[in-house]
């Protein structure tokens, strides 16, 4: 008997369609895995086993009736708690939204349900997606299923999509949604040995996704392998008139066109990413990736992205600026928490509500954003950052005249321990050094597992593509996946 929780999206759908097992059996198996891991891993904020079973029952009935089944039929997934789900608490992992019950469904989650997926629950994350380790959640840290050998110290699952990465790598879900503002899909995927893609900005609707930094936020899938990511991204993407930045383009058939053959393709290696003092295991996995893509037929070319070192400071002006504006809506009036001290007026209520509802990292970013947008500082910080962002995007445009895709590490290290970097915000920010540039340029980028480092923890490789060329990114990622032969998984301790 197949262990159903070992299966990914494609295998589950095929098994359900072929009648090898029922969607209800799949949902039951994953519901049990979720429940068993909840105390130790804390991947979910809310679990919804009844939703998973309800969706599965519909698929089983559709199959019996001969109704055509969707591309995600019978696949129960985890939904990052940044997507509004009708009647199911949506918090962005913040106390300020505790108890918030959306009266509507986000476009992306609705598309997944329409494709036949079911919901296992709402996944934990860094508060308002601000963090790289899942330590800023108001609902407790998510713990990675991975551990160092002979060491029980809890490790970070990455962030902000840490509930998603833990759920997929611990086999609590075959796939999960993520969102990526500066690396929040790719870095957690790398930390936990799974795959994840952030598509071109505008591919997936932001309607019903709790906003962090609107010019950067993009949803994407996190799953076991490249094929599953392609299937799920196809289900998530598409034009949505309710999102003013949604791309009015048809969704390509990424899955049908998957190919790991890189003949005739040029892969750029950005020299500025080879930082002084780069972790030797990260450098080695990058070299492995270069060899694998050569083996797949690609030509390797040296490229330059001269403004790379300015990407992080640019990001840490633009993202907080947009966040300070987006998060102004949490005022204790229309939804969410209200803190009304005795005798307080309206202004005092706003200030008390926001003080009580936001966590320290969220406050820090709102404060930075407020400062860089304030009169007298706007040009020096914000306008300058928007100009440097244009230069960073131009670097990529120039580089893509010489190559089809870019290969780089996903993160500068493997997973760190919880608490290891949380004392110093700057040190935490530096973890996004390789992922932020593609976000600033709105480009599709994917992380796939490359191997294990000296402490037995996964390392990811990142493929960055031209705008709209998710296919090129998926194909190069597939070529890497076929050669990395990554089969390691965390030993079950939870």
């Amino acid at each position: 008997m197949t262990n159903l929780t070992d299966l990914g999206i494609a295998a589950i759908r095929k098994g359900v369609v072929d009648g090898e097992f029922t969607a209800t059996e799949v949902a039951t198996a994953f519901n049990a895995a979720v429940a068993e891991a909840q105390v130790s891993l804390n991947a979910f904020i809310v679990i919804t086993p009844e939703k998973a079973l309800e969706a599965a029952a519909k698929i089983d009935a559709d199959r019996a009736a001969g109704t055509p089944l969707g591309t995600m039929a019978g696949v129960p997934i985890g939904m990052k708690d940044l997507f509004a789900t009708h009647g199911v608490q949506t918090t962005a992992a913040s106390k300020i939204l505790e108890g918030f019950m959306p009266q509507y469904e986000s476009t992306v989650s609705q598309k997944l349900w329409d494709a036949g997926a079911g919901m296992l629950g709402k996944l934990n994350l860094d508060q308002f997606a601000m963090g790289s380790s899942n330590e800023t959640s108001a609902f407790g840290n998510v713990v990675s299923p991975w551990r160092r050998p002979n060491d029980t110290a809890p490790l970070a699952p990455g962030g902000s999509s840490g509930g998603s990465s833990t759920a997929v790598s611990a086999r609590l879900a075959p796939a999960a949604t993520g969102t990526d503002t500066g690396g929040s899909i790719r870095q957690p995927a790398a930390f936990t040995g799974i795959s994840g893609i952030k598509p071109t900005y505008g591919r997936c609707s932001r309607w019903g996704v709790v906003a962090f930094a609107s010019s950067l936020d993009q949803a994407g899938p996190m799953a076991r392998d490249v094929t599953d990511c392609a299937i799920m991204l196809e289900a998530m993407a598409g034009f949505d008139p309710k999102d003013s930045t949604s791309l009015n383009l048809p969704v390509p058939e990424w899955t049908a066109n998957l190919s790991g053959d890189m003949k005739g393709k040029k892969v750029g290696i950005p020299r500025e990413y080879r930082l002084d003092g780069i972790d030797p295991d990260v450098a080695k996995s990058w070299d492995d990736g270069i060899a694998w893509l050569k083996d797949a037929g690609a030509e390797i070319v040296d490229i330059s992205l001269p403004h790379t070192k300015y990407a992080l400071p640019t990001y840490y002006i633009i993202a907080p600026a947009e966040a300070s504006s987006n998060l102004a809506r949490y005022d204790g009036v229309r939804y969410g928490l209200r803190d009304l001290p005795d005798g307080a007026g309206l202004q005092d209520m706003y200030a008390a509500t926001r003080a009580a509802g936001f966590g320290p990292e969220v406050k820090r970013r709102i404060m930075i954003g407020t400062y860089v947008l304030s009169a007298g500082f706007y040009d020096a910080y914000y306008t300058q950052a928007q100009k440097v962002r244009a230069l960073i995007a131009r670097d990529f445009t120039e580089a893509f005249k010489l190559c089809d895709v870019i290969l780089a590490p996903t993160a500068p290290s493997s997973a760190f321990a919880l608490g290891e970097k949380s004392a110093d915000p700057l040190e935490m920010y530096l973890n996004d050094v390789f992922s932020v540039p593609a976000s600033l340029a709105g480009l599709p980028a994917m992380s796939v597992p490359a191997g294990l480092d000296r402490s037995g923890l996964p390392l990811g490789l990142q493929v960055i593509g031209k705008a709209f060329d998710e296919q090129g990114v998926l194909n190069a990622s597939l070529a890497l996946e076929q050669r990395a032969q990554f089969t390691a998984r965390p030993a079950k301790w939870w």
Partner: protein, 100 residues
Amino acid sequence: MSVDTATVAKIASLARIKVSETELQAMVPELNGILAWVEQLSEVDVTGIEPMTAVIPNTQRLREDIVNADPLTGGDRRDAVLANAPAPEHGFFGVPKVIE
């Protein structure tokens, strides 16, 4: 540019976040650390560069001027709009008294 306690208090007030004296003292070095680090952007030559306004070229759309074209976001949804309000009153959002 570095910030002092008074400036941080001013920012907190602009951001409508109540901060205690202790929090204020802790925020000053933290914000200064971050601001000193982002300061390096001033060394980039941006002569002739327009600030980026859209990362992927796109055109601004207007929705069709049709009443309730999308029932989810159209009118007659008062109860749904108020469903999550902390203090709804008589079909309105309730707030503390603002006029003496």
